[in-house]
């Protein structure tokens, strides 16, 4: 960092660099070290709530769950060390495999569909000449619905016999499936429900679209590019960083999906006892193991397995993104 000052003539940005160094020397001369320390402490003071929150609510529980994953712990009695037994049991647990399969299917269906629809919504919003603020709010409003309310509402909307979704489908001659009771249609039904909250992703895309320089579109138009070519070669590359961000965030959220599914299929005794495993998501099974079957050690091992899976998927996404994502200025 300090090498330029010690080696030969200064580069072309000499005035700025020289001025900065001079300023820095003046600052030290006027008690800059003390100010720096004070600023450091202030920074620490402002950061301390977050740091303490991170240690207490994130890092601490993570370390604790790692330790617990090597124990037999029922939340009441002291944990008992069982070595790697919980991890061995993961391999031979058929319900774990079912929950993992369900979660992967849900993620594979939900993430691309939600991203495509959100992008479509954002493009439409971006073209609106008037009332954009109103429609932006309208699109985002469903995100504010509590997950439990979403679950309860979609249990009614998706009912195969009396639900609104099938009623609407019947208007165009389609006989809708039993979304909430047919094991083959439960996951597509959940994906349909998940689209209720795409407004969040749409608003992020809209912000990215606003940042695409108009000059690039104008230049492309002058070069004879049509609308699709401008979208494909200008818009998409320019918002690829945002798309990449939403891909990672949505993938992680999908792999951890819980509240809506739990409300719909596991929230009361009647639905829980008759739903089978078609809606058993990984996080739901983890919750069952921890708080219904009192296997907190096993649930901790499940949590770490999920963490590693998410980490692996994210690493793959990062690797792939290096060749595909455009970063402004980098």
């Amino acid at each position: 960092m300090t090498a330029p000052a010690a080696s030969g003539p200064p580069p072309t940005s000499v005035p700025v660099a020289t001025s900065a160094r001079a300023g820095s020397r003046r600052a030290r001369g006027w008690g800059g070290a003390g100010r720096g320390q004070r600023e450091g402490r202030w920074a620490l003071a402002f950061l301390s709530p977050w740091v303490i929150g991170f240690v207490v609510f994130t890092a601490g529980p993570m370390v604790a769950s790692l330790v617990l994953s090597f124990t037999d712990y029922d939340l009441v009695n002291s944990p008992r060390l069982v070595g790697t037994q919980n991890y061995h049991d993961l391999v031979s647990d058929p319900r774990l495999l079912t929950s993992m399969r369900n979660t992967v299917i849900y993620t594979v269906l939900h993430v691309p569909l939600a991203m495509l629809l959100a992008l479509g919504l954002a493009l439409v919003l971006n073209r609106l000449a008037r009332g954009q603020g109103f429609f932006r709010t309208l699109v985002y409003l469903p995100v504010m619905t509590p997950p439990v309310a979403i679950g309860a509402m979609f249990l009614l909307l998706l009912n195969g016999r009396s639900g609104l979704v099938n009623e609407v489908l019947s208007w165009v001659g389609i006989t809708g499936p039993a979304w909430t009771t047919d094991p083959a249609w439960i996951k597509p039904g959940l994906v349909l429900m998940s689209l209720w909250t795409i407004g969040g992703t749409a608003v992020i895309y809209l912000a990215a679209l606003k940042d695409v320089p108009v000059q690039l579109h104008e230049a492309a138009t002058l070069d004879g590019a049509n609308a699709w070519q401008r979208f494909r070669n200008v818009t998409l590359p320019m918002i690829s960083g945002t798309i990449y961000f939403t891909l990672i965030v949505n993938t992680i959220a999908s792999l951890q999906t819980f509240s809506e599914v739990y409300t719909m299929y596991f929230g009361n005794a009647a639905t829980a006892s008759s739903s089978g495993d078609a809606a058993l998501m990984y996080a739901v099974y983890l919750f069952q193991q921890a708080f219904q079957f009192l296997h907190m050690g096993y649930a901790s091992a499940m949590a770490w397995l999920l963490f590693l899976i998410i980490l692996l998927i994210t690493v793959v996404q990062v690797r792939v993104a290096r060749r595909r994502v455009y970063y402004e200025g980098g």
Binding site: R41, L44, A45, G53, V76, T180, T181, S274
Partner: protein, 459 residues
């Protein structure tokens, strides 16, 4: 000066965060000196509860009765249903409520882990007469010879048939309420209208998976040993019960369509299945009679007792109970609270208040089913009055007579896993992925594995 100010800034930030974090914790009554002061009111101890609410007079009058009793005191009620996560977190953090209100089916599981404590000493000291409680209720809260909770409500099943559907099928209520399984199959065939996507009327809905223990008992089968340690889901009588009940459902077509039809009705509203004539008959929780009394008392239905295959009355009971968590600050007061909340005098006072309130608003009071047989008898003679609506009065009478015929599953170390094993088995059969024998064989393995693991942990 500057350094000390910096330190004070960091300290203030840390303290603010710590205070914020501290404010987030705590479920029960708290601890320490300040808590002692806060939990005492006029020399009386304030106790806290979890898993309980105050929806009507049956709850409020009983709580007030305790608060006004000689040994009673204020009760801090955190309203809401029993939440496993909340309860276990409270126990694990050493800050549990003094009394917890929970389903009796869960008592064995929590007792085995030590999350709730035996109440035998408190029963002896408080002079609680356990003989006044119904045997199945006591059986559900007794593990390894120790009583871990005091039974409260006593839920049962009633067979409610739809008069119009029965008549249209050319049947009589007596045929529909038969204990003979061939007759039930016949009435199901005759009452069912349509199938699959065109299912219009569900003939006889056996309400499985949750009623499998009832059907197994009606067939003379046993799903769990009396000590709650050995599963017997592969018992041929249980397999036969599952085969019979799943065949009733299959008559209506694909299970997914059957279930969608069942879930599509306005169960708690005016367009319920009896008001719309979309079910022939089903064994349903007794509280549903109160729902019908409230929303459609003249819908045209008949309540009948459930019979076993020999034609004798049989029922399956469940319900709530009061237990004392490990680490409770005021176990003696909690014990007194459980005693008062389930005492005959308290029940009668609450039932009178409820009956008066309902009658004042033009509603119907049909009784209160408690786990205390002395209270039930007194409520029947002192509080209950015929409503003048034949279907409701008949229902209340059937309910009173059913109370003595109930059986239940005993307390077990792994209640949730045991229940999960057999309900999953039923669902697999209904969805067509396994035969009853295959499904129950798998369930037997899963249930016994869970029971053995829980027993090992307990040792």
């Amino acid at each position: 000066m500057g350094r000390s100010r910096s330190r004070s800034v960091v300290g203030a930030g840390t303290a603010l965060t710590a205070v914020t974090l501290a404010a987030c914790g705590g479920v029960g009554g708290g601890g320490g000196g300040s808590d002692q002061a806060a939990s005492s009111s006029g020399g009386k101890v304030t106790i806290s509860t979890m898993g309980f609410g105050l929806p009507d007079e049956i709850a409020t009058v009983r709580v007030k009765t305790y608060e006004n009793s000689a040994k009673g005191g204020p009760v801090k009620i955190t309203e809401g249903g029993f939440d496993e996560q909340q309860f276990l977190a409270a126990v694990a953090s050493g800050n549990p409520p003094d009394a917890v209100h929970l389903d009796r089916a869960k008592v064995g599981t929590y007792a085995a882990r030590g999350a709730i404590v035996p109440m035998d000493d408190c029963i002896a000291k408080s002079g609680i007469d356990m003989s006044q409680y119904r045997k199945p209720g006591v059986q559900q809260v007794t593990l390894d010879g120790k009583v871990y909770a005091i039974p409260e409500f006593y839920g049962m099943r009633l067979l409610i048939s739809d008069d119009a559907v029965v008549k249209k099928a050319g049947l009589t209520t007596k045929q529909v309420a038969s204990g003979d399984w061939d007759t039930i199959t016949m009435v199901n065939d005759k009452m069912t209208q349509g199938s699959g996507r065109n299912l219009k009327v569900i003939g006889y809905d056996p309400r499985i998976p949750e009623t499998l223990p009832l059907w197994a008992a009606a067939n003379g089968g046993q799903m769990l040993s009396a000590d709650g340690k050995t599963a017997s889901l592969g018992d041929p009588k249980v397999v036969e019960a599952l085969t019979f009940t799943t065949n009733l459902v299959k008559r209506a077509g694909k299970y997914s369509e059957f279930k969608a039809t069942r879930e599509g009705v306005d169960f708690f509203g005016k367009d319920n299945q009896y008001a719309t004539d979309t079910v022939g008959a089903m064994p349903i929780d007794d509280f549903y009679l109160n729902v019908l009394a409230d929303v459609s008392p003249k819908a045209g239905f008949t309540v009948s007792p459930i019979l076993d295959r020999q034609g004798k009355q049989i029922n399956y009971s469940g319900g709530s109970s009061w237990a004392i968590p490990k680490g409770a600050k005021h176990p003696e007061e909690a014990c007194e609270f459980a005693k008062v909340m389930t005492a005959a005098d308290t029940w009668v006072a609450a039932a009178k208040a409820r009956a008066e309130a309902l009658r004042a608003e033009g509603g119907y009071y049909l009784g209160t089913n408690t786990g205390n047989k002395v209270a039930d008898e007194r409520i029947r003679t002192e509080v209950f009055k015929p409503t003048g609506v034949p279907a409701l009065d008949n229902g209340a009478k059937v309910l009173q007579q059913a109370q003595d015929s109930a059986v239940t599953l005993p307390a077990t170390y792994a209640g949730s896993e045991f229940e999960k094993a057999y309900t999953d088995a039923v669902t697999r059969v209904l969805e067509g992925s396994q035969t009853p024998a295959q499904a129950l064989k798998q369930a037997q393995g899963e249930a016994q594995k869970a029971l053995d693991a829980a027993a090992k942990s307990r040792q």
